[in-house]
Assembly symmetry: C2
Homo-oligomer: 131 residues x 2
Amino acid sequence: MSKYVTRQRRALLDYLGTHADEALSAQEIAAALEGARVSLSAVYRNLAELEAEGLVRRTERPGTREACYCFIGAEECRGCLHLQCKRCGRTFHMDAAGAEQLKSVVEKAEGFALDKGDTVLYGVCEICRDD
Amino acid sequence: MSKYVTRQRRALLDYLGTHADEALSAQEIAAALEGARVSLSAVYRNLAELEAEGLVRRTERPGTREACYCFIGAEECRGCLHLQCKRCGRTFHMDAAGAEQLKSVVEKAEGFALDKGDTVLYGVCEICRDD
DNA sequence: CTAGTTGCAAAGAGTTTGCATGGCG
DNA sequence: CGCCATGCAAACTCTTTGCAACTAG
């Protein structure tokens, strides 16, 4: 979809690549990129495009009404279930085996075709539990 | 929390009670209640209160950026996992047994403490699959 | 040179809030 | 009668869009 590789897009992708596990709002990303002079609009437009391409997932920060974006560009990440920690905001990936197991549990119990690409499980991650 | 029982609150609760399985936006609710002359603000304020009391769950309509509200006041509904159909918007409940099974799958696989109250599984329901 | 991208500022959409009025108890 | 809740409209926040300027290829 994207035809040109602009400075802004490169900066965004670089940033997302090094923060793959975090659920960030568009404004936070723009703020982090301010050194690279990337406008908020560019951030929004590129995020929308990346989302359409399936490289980024948009979720809602629980308790907030702002969208947050999470880079899922890595191959092993696509189509696999995501877990988001309510404390640290970090996103984890459930391995394919576990995800399939979970999908079939839902399928058998309710006849419901779980969409792994759209759902995010909320809870508290292993790290944050030890507080 | 609520001290008075107003005409508006009663109308809202009546409506929610008869649409317990649907994920509705505040504006849709207000529209449905227009016969009862309930203002949008009243709808928002009451929904916020109900959410705080745990009687209503707010989720995001996938692909949209508007919040939708789902009545979960029924006893058997609280704390149990919810499934939302991406086609018809209807919400289903996963029975306690299935939910526990699912929770333990996630727990064992990732050490992640799933919060059943916060997560909603997206997919396609049994009814909509037969198209 | 051509067409995709950007920045800015204005427009939108959804939601929240201030304040005077109205209504429950 | 006192206080909470409502209605209305203005305020806000986050996000999207129009358009001229810019730039990658």
